[in-house]
Amino acid sequence: MRGLARLYPPSWRERYGAELDALLDDTPPSTRQTLDVIAGAARAWLHPARQLHSPGARMRTTIGVALYAWVTLAAGVAVFVQFTEDPGFGAVDAAHAGAGAAHGVFRVAAAASLGLVTLGLLPLAGSLLLTARRQHRSDVLRRLLSPVVAIAAFGLVLVLVVTLAPRSRVPGEGIGNWFLLLLAAGLVAGFGCAHGPAVAVRRLAVGAAPTRVAVVALAGAIVALAVATVGAALYSAELHTWMPGAGVSRPAFAVPFVALMALPAAIAAISLSRGLRAARSATLEG
C-alpha cells in the first residue's frame, strides 16, 4: 500500500506524502483502499489546484509554468523585432506619431519584461545555487547551468548561419531557410534556458522570500509582454496604412501572431493567479 503515494504529483507528495504514507501504514491493506488511493492520485493530477494546499509548492510550480510561457512569448517578440529592424521602419515611426507610439510601447514593454525577469529571478537563482552546493545536489546544479549551455549552443548556430548564409544586396533575399533554422535554434535554446531552472526549482525548496519575488517578477514580466503584444498589434495596424508592403503589416502575419501570443499568456495568467494567491498566503503565514 505504501508505494501508492508515489502515484501522486511530486508537489502533492512534498506536502502530504509523508502523512499519506503514515495513514497507509496504519490502514489494513484492501482492494477498496488501493482503488481509493489510485482515484485520489488521478484527481490530484487532473485538478492540482483543488488537491494541493502548499503555498511553497504552488509558487514553485507557477515559476516553472511562467518560465516556459515567458520564453515562448519572448521568442514571438524576438521574431517581431527581427521583422521590424530595417531602417525603413524608423522613418515611418518618425513620420507618423501613431506608428512611433505603438512601436515605442512595444519596445519599452519588451525591455521592461526582460529587466523584470533578469532582476526578479536573480535572488532565486542565487538561493538555489547556494542551497544546491550546500546539499551537494549535483543534479540541481547541472539544471541551473543549462541556460549557459543553451545560450552557448545558440551562439554557435548563429555564427554558423552568419558565416554560411548567402550575401545579397536586397535585405532578406535568399535567406528564408537560414532564418527558419535560426528561429528553430532560438526556440530550442529558449526552452533549454527555461527547462533546467524550471526543473531545478521544482526539485529543491528554498526560502519563501526569493520564491515570492520570482513569482511577482514573472507576473510583471508576463504582463509586460502582453502589453508588448498589444503594442505590436497596434504597430502592425499602423504599418498597414503607412507601409503596406511590409510583411508585419499584413493581417496574415498580425492575426496568427496575436493568437499564438495569447495562448501562452493565458496559460501563464491562470498559473500566476494561483501562484500569486499562494505568495500572498505565504506572506500572511510569515
Partner: protein, 104 residues
Amino acid sequence: MDENSRRADAPVLVLASLAAGAKHGYAITQDIAEQVGVTLGPGTLYGIIARLEERGLIRALPSDDRRRPYELTAAGADALAERSRQLRKVADLGLKRLRTAGTA
C-alpha cells in the same frame, strides 16, 4: 448510505470530527467510522483535507511526527454550524412529511 451521499457529506464529516478536537488522518477516519459508520478511504480523506485547508476551514498543526494533526479554524466552525443547520432543516422536513404521510 450510498456512495454519492457519502462523497457529498464527507467534508462535513471531517469538519464534525475535528470539532471534537485536533486529529491526524488515521484518527479522523477512525472517529468517523465509529460515530457514523462511514469509512473514508485514504485518497478521499486527503483530497478533502487539501480542499478544506485551501479554503481555510482547517489548519495543520506543527508536528515532528509524520502523523500531522489538523484542527478546525473559526471559519471552519462557522461553515460546519451553517451546514449542520441546513441538514437539520432537510431532516426535519423529511421526517415531518413522512409523519404526515403516516409512514414514519
